[in-house]
Amino acid sequence: MNETSDKQKISTGQYSNAPNQSVFQGVLYTFHGGVHPEEHKKASSGRPIMPVFIPTEIIVSVQQHIGEAGRPCVAVGDHVDTGQIIAQADGYMSVAAHAPTSGTVTAIAPHPVPHPSGLPGLCIHIQPDGKNTWMARTPTDYHNTHPSTLRNLLRDMGVAGLGGAVFPTFIKLNPGKIKKVPTLLLNGGECEPWITCDDAIMREHAEGILQGAAVMRHLLQSNRVLVGIEDNKPEAIAAMSAATSQVDFPVEIVSIPTLYPSGGAKQMIKIITGKEVPSGGRSTDVGVAIFNVGTSLAVHRAINHGEPLISRVVTVTGNVGLPHNREVLIGTPINELLALAGGHPEPVTGSLMGGPMMGFELADTAAPVVKATNCILVKSGRLFPAPPPAMECIRCTRCADACPADLQPQELYWFSKSKHFDKAQQYSLFDCIECGCCSYVCPSHIPLVNYYRYAKSEISTLKSAERAANLARERFESRTARLERDQRERAERLAQKSAIKPTPDTDAAATIQAALARTQAQADEPKV
């Protein structure tokens, strides 16, 4: 792991065009637990990615990513070109949002957005003009650009993690004090059932993904690049392996056993490096930076083509006549996307964004596609039957055996249910990644993850209430202190004034005494 940049250069020379440069030479590790839900990937993985279409309306949420929302920088009535910034990054943890196609801004107003809460969010509404006139696109020569300029560029290109967490990518590409992150790991695990969008881009855009990796590798000074792909995607593995000859640095394509949730960042890191990201820490603590393959492709497009993140591949599957993957403009209303999916063979019982293990129910399909939208999964009663009624926990520990975070879900359930939140935290509730393995295997059909989400949000609420109370107390205390100080000073001034008077010393002393006593009496009054 301590190769110097010399070694890097040498290996670059050795590896380029070497036929076996894609072969991973290490050992694979395992993470604890995991489950094998039915995959259902064949449904959508067979067809090529369908082309992008321009919907009747574009609705771009200013909150696309984790962190602070973007700040709209266009006004109603403005004409925007494709790729033009319409909301600027606001604060450190923020990225820009762009017009996915050219048109006119018609409104900047709340609209349903895909979020587990089901609450509407601020969106910029654009009426497309159908011409799709691009703003000027300038590729960047990243080798000759300062890293921080590159990172700012990625921020302004709106690049955020496309694996689901939508963390601003430029932040993760800042190695900070440690200067370099030895291992760059691209996550092509895609372990959730039904979803095949990463599979599709690995098959069709393998080279672009690796070009993106080249940029990231440059920024992170990594000397090792790996791509982890579940072995249920042989075509993707083949395509990625073939593409390794197109780049001038060694890339190891790692075929990992199919086991949900091997595509979880922490699990992928464990499988490939054998190391565990410390609780509360970051992957760079174990020398690894991990990015979704889609993110890498977005970096490639932003840097090498000057195209901001305005579209992504979305899997549309489940109870639809034509399950497929499609390049979709960010801001496309989900119902317009669904309209192109060949109808619904069975009665629809709702739609999920994401997969069945970690996705969430869409409150309204008028909500637009966001950067986090990897899959729209339409449900039917047959594909997703209602779970049998929950029974008591029989402490069979199947959940613990399945938990990839090595937790004791049955204990967490008990503590969450009985509101022993301190105990729940002691049993590492916040290390739960909400993967759903525990609920999946529970023979009592207890919606365990529901309980954990509830407990986590209760604890956060309590904590912020506590913070607010602390703040109020501090404010109150400083106010009291200020009042006391004012009174004391007044009393002293009074005392001094009386002292100037030609009165006997005893009188002065008595005046001071009296003033102090008054002050004291005031200070002793009950505080409200």
């Binding site: 059932p193 029989i394 204990e411």
Partner: protein, 342 residues
Amino acid sequence: MLSSPYVTAQNSVSLIMLKVAFALLPAIVIYAWLYGPAIIISLCIATVTALVMEALAMTLRQRSVQTALWDGSALITAWLFALSIPSIAPWWLTVTGLFFAIIVAKHLYGGLGNNVFNPAMVGYAVLIVSFPVPMTHWAAPLSLAGEPLGWSAAAHYIFSNHLPDGWTLDAITSATPLDTLRTQLKLHHTVAKIEQLPIFGHLGGRANEMVVGAYLLGGLYLLKERIITWHIPVALLGSLALISGVFWLINPSEYASPWFHIATGGSLLGAFFIATDPVTAATTPRGKLIYAAGIGLLIYLIRMFGAYPDGVAFGVLLMNIAVPLIDAWTQPPPYGHKEVRA
């Protein structure tokens, strides 16, 4: 609105319990074949009693009777209980024991999942303390019995507590191998000599060792089906073998061999079916080892130095008390905590 996951594995408590029941079937068949049909009658009484009591308790607690009956847990309690007491136990003994098992040990503690003590073993313990005499009337293997205990004779005895004219209790019962060993040792006979008695077989008790073998078979099936993990049976039998082995090596004429202890009494039933009751057992892997090793040790101590014929019930119940502590002490480190805690 329920949140994810939106899919579940094909599994249910009923299915688990059904598989446990299925795993007990070979032993029951062999039991009935070698000891006569009394065990079938006793299992039927126990099943009906347990289900009625479960329904009653659920009605009183205003819960869904149907789910409770279908979850199969009462059925398993009934069967384990019936297999732990003499097959010719009078009906009221079964009913009393199950009252304590289902009503007291299970539902007064909050029902399935909340009970601290293994219900079947509570039922057994109450009976052995309160009615020690009928609890020693074990049916003799048919090959040793003076009279063949068929359906009608067994039913007659179980329901009316009377034997057909001319029959004596001695003719149809015999002391268990463990009891025999205990009483004979008090008479200063050596283990080797005692094991010559007809009640003993190759490894444990005659006929009984066949039933025990069937428990082992059922246990292996449970392991294969992942209903149980290896920890509890291995640790329980291992610690029992270890402690009995130590004594046996020191003085083989006064202490029976480890295989005798494993192959007699409730050792295997306990190791695979009773101590593994998920609700009342320890849950962490290390916790299961400690819990089961404790039971193995207690089984031996109670057998050798206690006042009761077998130690499984009290061993399990005593270790049940320690479960919360054991679990708390043996929490495995979660992902990302390994370095810190190790």
